[in-house]
């Protein structure tokens, strides 16, 4: 049985909790098992927030993420707060705007201009969460694009379907443009 644990970290309002929900739903549409949870509490009021997703092909006993395989962050505070939890040989996806400190680590860190793409290519910074999902999906193949698109359309506010679909594609593109770096994890 294979299980992947993902944590999405950002600041309140970046929509990462919705992204987590969509990711989990996409996994379910793929016929996988998935659980999603998030941080509550004063954090959610302005400060940093996190969403967690576990995707597995079997029953998920323990529902929380202790050591993520993948961390995706759009804010520096979240990056520095959560990076230590990432599993050895795990991966961190970080927005390009974040200036990373020089550090040694077994964890792979990849940066993409997610926020910039949302702002400049799509023209709406609020779709950064969906761009993130595109990046994550293209990079990890954790969920199929079909299911992901379905899940996105299921969950975004009516009237924003088109722009979110576009955001997803731009996310895929960000990765495709950097084909060599693709990280894969086989689901056995």
């Amino acid at each position: 049985m294979s299980t992947v644990e993902i944590r999405l970290g950002g600041s309140g309002g970046q929509g990462l909790i919705l992204a987590g929900i969509i990711l989990a739903e996409a996994a379910i549409l793929d016929g996988k098992i998935s659980v999603q949870s998030q941080s509550y509490g004063p954090e959610a009021r302005g400060g940093s927030s996190k969403a967690e997703v576990i995707i597995s092909d079997g029953y998920i006993t323990y529902p929380k993420v202790l050591r993520p395989d993948i961390l995706l962050t759009l804010a520096f505070s979240a990056y520095s707060c959560y990076k230590k939890d990432v599993k050895e040989n795990g991966m961190i996806i970080v927005d390009e705007s974040i200036i990373l400190p020089e550090e040694q680590s077994s964890v792979k860190v990849i940066q993409f201009p997610i926020i910039k793409t949302a702002q400049e290519v799509i023209g709406k910074s609020f779709v950064a969460n969906i761009v993130s999902l595109g990046v994550l999906a293209e990079l990890t193949k954790l969920v199929t694009k079909d299911s992901l698109e379905k899940a996105v359309l299921n969950r975004v506010p009516p009237g924003t379907e088109e722009i979110n679909r576009k955001a997803l594609l731009e996310g895929y593109n960000l990765v495709k443009m950097r084909g060599s770096e693709v990280w894969q994890r086989q689901m056995i």
């Binding site: 929900i21 989990a24 739903e25 379910i28 549409l29 098992i33 998935s34 659980v35 999603q36 949870s37 998030q38 509550y40 509490g41 004063p42 998920i60 006993t61 323990y62 529902p63 929380k64 202790l66």
Partner: protein, 379 residues
């Protein structure tokens, strides 16, 4: 809509309730139960139901009882502070035998405590929170799909036994999202309270050994009296000690003597082994993971997970525990269900407790470690 849906635990309660026939919700917001109210506000209008936000939890509980007496399936949801406030009227529902469902999504207490942190500190309160002798049914789900299932059963038991039923959740399950396959439950039986036939000789509190009398809704021509005072079979107050004795006996008996019908539990690896873990709600999932962990270390652990924590499935526990060297009760509190287990487990079997009450969820590791330690220390 697809049959398998990703739902939050709180959402599953609402979906389960609607599946069970929920038609009336009255509540007052409180973290981490608020989504239940919010989703009821959103969904009930579309299933012919009604939602009202009352001025406080006392009023919410009262309105729920009032609505149930008109014949609607009714519920409310809250968390610790609100649960404390509802207690007086929960006692009223118990003695007046009004079906209703109360979800308590537990957070760390006492008092305001840590409003967004998980805990299981209301286990004893759910049994004993109101004054006076009574009995009650308390169900505690371990997953989102079980939250759905348990909610349906809560309504069923509530209607069947004319009694308040409590869904004792915790923040972890309340806010967790998991898939629920609605197909699985589509044939589940939905129980409706029995309706009386004879208007002339209707006795709303007729004495039925270990059972309950039919309950007529207000407004359908039965015109009976409902009171929180000790009452006769016709519902009218009395000070007759014989009536009082019979009434209280029946209130307690209809639950305690029907345990076999009410109890729900799950077991894993209970054929025997080194240690029997007893846990419920979200904690049980950490225990399951800990059991795998222990297995690797050569420790054979079993899990007994009451789903109905009150009445506690004591008969089954008595059958199982002798097959283990010791017993641990694992809960996110300072030890509450522990008292019941410690009472049931007689003889020489050691009953230990593993507790967490710092506002964080258990990790499987820490449970496994404590158990390993106990073996090292030769307990």
């Amino acid at each position: 809509m697809m049959a398998t849906r990703l739902m939050q635990g709180n959402e599953a309660v609402v979906e389960g309730a609607i599946a069970a026939g929920l038609k009336f919700y009255a509540g007052y917001p409180i973290t981490p139960s608020t989504e239940i109210a919010e989703l009821c506000a959103e969904k009930l209008p579309f299933v012919g139901g009604k939602f009202i936000q009352m001025e406080d939890e006392i009023a919410s509980m009262a309105a729920v009882i009032g609505a149930s007496l008109t014949g609607l399936k009714a519920m409310t949801a809250t968390s610790g502070p609100g649960f404390s406030l509802k207690q007086e009227n929960i006692g009223f529902a118990a003695i007046a035998e009004v079906p209703c469902v109360i979800a308590d999504v537990q957070r760390r207490g006492p008092s305001t405590g840590m409003p967004t942190s998980p805990a299981q500190g209301d286990v004893m309160q759910s049994r004993w929170g109101t004054h006076g002798d009574h009995s009650i049914i308390v169900l505690s789900p371990s997953s989102v799909k079980e939250a759905y299932y348990v909610t349906i059963q809560a309504f069923n038991l509530s209607e069947k036994y004319r009694t308040p039923v409590i869904i004792l959740m915790d923040e972890v399950i309340g806010h967790l999202r998991e898939a629920v396959n609605l197909e699985e439950y589509k044939d589940i039986e939905i129980i409706e309270r029995t309706m009386p036939q004879d208007k002339e000789n209707y006795l709303p509190y007729q004495h039925i050994e270990n059972g309950v009398a039919p309950l007529a809704p207000f407004g359908k021509g039965f015109r009976f009296h409902v009171t929180g005072l000790v009452h006769n079979e016709d519902g009218l107050p009395t000070n007759d000690p014989k009536v009082a004795e019979k009434l209280i006996e029946r209130l307690v008996g209809k639950i305690e003597n029907n345990k076999r019908d009410i109890v729900m539990f799950e077991e894993k690896y209970t054929e025997g082994g080194d240690v029997l873990i007893i846990s419920f709600g979200s904690s049980a999932r950490a225990c399951e993971a800990a059991i795998e962990n222990l297995k690797k270390e050569g420790i054979q652990a079993g899990l007994f997970r009451p789903i109905a924590i009150w009445p506690f499935p004591d008969e089954r526990l008595k059958e199982i525990y002798p097959k283990f060297k010791k017993v641990f009760v694992v809960e996110m509190n300072t030890g509450q269900l522990y008292y019941e287990v410690d009472r049931i487990v007689k003889g020489d079997t050691y009953v230990g407790k593993i507790n967490k009450f710092n506002g964080e969820f258990f990790t499987p590791c820490e449970i496994a470690e404590k158990i390993k330690e106990s073996f090292k220390n030769g307990i």
